[in-house]
């Protein structure tokens, strides 16, 4: 089963790359079909293993990776069905595959922990990860924005300009994904606080991961603020969302590098 899903995702990536180099629509269609198949198989396998909050596989790195790859796949498929920027697939599909590979090569064993057995914890993890998915998409649109902007500004057309969406479309998609990501990360932080309050009696513990996530939250909050109040748009906000996503990566993985705190299961 593992390798079947791996094969589906791998084939999807192959066709997205073929589309990148040959620009034939049929490659995109086939790639998308395989991606959907991979997503559906992966999701059903994932869901089949859940029957209570304690079996929701977000207590260990392997499960988190797998869940992230599903969420990213689902959101990306929804975007592509709505006809928005199929070129985003060049970045997104490799990441889906990468996370899936990571998930099957990392330990799958859940550490049983009594304090985690509440519905709040999976909720907290799910909201946070949906937030990360949208931040990733804002990062991807920002990269295309910066590339396309550079092409137009410096009057070089190495790429066929038409293949990348217009600056205005990329910019507004960047804005929307940041809005969504911000909403979900806020929900994630709220559910996390309530959960922590129930367990330890305090909403905030200055745990390293909490602090890093707060930084992420502040950065995207300032993105939204600058956009609304100072009229920032385009390249500046694109760069901000790239920085934001780097911070997300630090908060997501870099936690391992800092000792202490109770987010020690990942």
């Amino acid at each position: 089963m593992k390798f079947f899903i791996l094969g589906l995702y791998g084939t999807a990536l192959l066709f997205y790359l073929l589309h990148l180099f040959f620009n034939w629509k049929v490659f995109l269609k086939i790639g998308f079909m395989f991606l959907c198949l991979g997503f559906l198989t992966h999701t059903s396998k994932f869901l089949a293993g859940i029957n209570s909050p304690s079996t929701f596989p977000v207590y260990y790195m392997g499960g988190v990776m797998s869940f992230f790859s599903i969420l990213l796949g689902g959101v990306f498929i929804a975007y592509q069905i709505r006809g928005i920027v199929p070129v985003l697939g060049y970045i997104t599909v490799p990441v889906i595959l990468l996370f899936y590979i990571a998930s099957i090569s990392l330990p799958q064993q859940a550490v049983f922990r009594q304090e985690l057995m509440t519905v709040l914890f999976p909720l907290h993890a799910t909201f946070s990860m949906i937030g990360y998915v949208f931040f990733f998409l804002s990062f991807a649109t920002a990269l295309f924005y910066i590339l396309q902007e550079k092409n137009i500004k410096l009057k070089i057309s190495r790429w066929n300009l038409k293949r990348i969406p217009s600056l205005v479309e990329l910019d507004s998609m960047n804005y929307r994904t940041v809005q969504l990501g911000f909403t979900f990360i806020t929900l994630g932080m709220l559910t996390g606080s309530i959960w922590s309050e129930r367990l330890w009696g305090s909403l905030w513990n200055w745990d390293p991961k909490e602090v890093l996530t707060l930084l992420v939250w502040l950065l995207y909050a300032s993105y939204l603020h600058l956009r609304l109040i100072a009229g920032w748009k385009g390249r500046k906000t694109a760069i901000l969302s790239v920085i934001g996503f780097i911070l997300v990566l630090v908060a997501f993985f870099g936690r391992k590098l800092i000792p202490g705190g109770y987010h020690d299961f990942f």
């Binding site: 137009i152 009057k155 217009s166 205005v168 920032w232 748009k233 390249r235």
Partner: protein
Amino acid sequence: MTSFKEENLLVHGTSFRTSPLDVREALALKKSEDEKLLYKIKTLLGVDECVILSTCNRVEFIIYREHPEEIINGIIKINEERSGIPLEKSYFYNFFGKPAIKHIFRVTSSLDSMVLGEPQITGQVKSAYESSLKNGFIGKNLRKVFERAFFVAKRVRNETAIGENPNSISSQAVELAESIFGDLSKRKAIVIGTGEMGEIAIKSFLARGIFKIYITSRTIERAQELCSLYSGEVLPFKDLYRGLEEVDIVLCSSAAPHYLITKNDVKNVMKKRKGNPLFFIDISLPRNIEPEVGEVENVYLYHIDDLQQIVDKNIKKRREEAIKSEKIVEEEVERFFQRVEEEKIGPLLARVYETADSIRRRELEELFKMLGNIPEHQKKAIEDFSVNVIKKILHKPVIKVKEMTRNGDSSVVETFFFLFGESDEIESGNPRK
């Protein structure tokens, strides 16, 4: 059943290569004139299959009829009458047979266009064909030719990049605007100056459905004239800066000897635009927009030289793609005639099979009489056996004869049918002899 005969096909026409514009204008079809003209050609010249293609760059009559060379003078005469001008024979080209097919394929694929690879021509050929179809002037011969021509045009478009990059300054400007703004239907533009280049650009932007165009000029009369032509709105020159806050695209083609818009102006404007991008196209000489304007955040400035450079590159690319396209056309012309040849021997081959089959049945009947009462399943086995023998004996020669036909080796093909007693048919059926 008569088959397609290449010597019956004629393309009689004139294009930008052979005649001046005023001649082509006089010859071009007026609105809904096509039906009348088609009937005229039919009644006066006895033409049953005809397509009339009329664009601003060419007027062509594509005709399928026996001895089409006889009616060329007739067509010229009809055209002299309807255009009211004397027509010299040198204005026209006449293609017959294979060159005619090739010409039709090239025209439909936009390889003979003034602007190489421009996409409109395929649609124009299609509507000319459909008009003839509607009026009953398409028989199976022209249908075969045109259906193939549309297929070839599609192949050229799919397999080469001939139509991909804009090859005029105004279309390149429009494409850049689309790379910035996407859909232009909600966008507004200001055109400063009323020169010829500006007018061409207005047309290109309107063709892509731009929402609104303001025209500003120091001579207000000319601006008003352009506005009434293209349903724009006059913007007094003193209101230019207010306009910059509202629009998305600024096209400058004025003849002012100095900068009309400076970096500082644009910086101030951008503050009020809340960061919404602004695209300047400066096609005036000397420049009317300060080059440093392009350094402002979210502002894009293209000068005519920048556009020209991209266009030159694109044209070079198109020429390379044209070579590929010509190869496709050559290939398809050959394939077209192979098909015609194959279809020609189709009925003959069917007759060979029929003859063989009737012999088989006769012999079988006699055999069954001789054998008397035999079980049904044995009868069936013998019958199947006889069918198989015929199929297997004829299989290889038929494959070979099809191959020879494709290669145009008519002597072997004739011999084949001669041996099977069908020789007199092929002589009337093969025009290439």
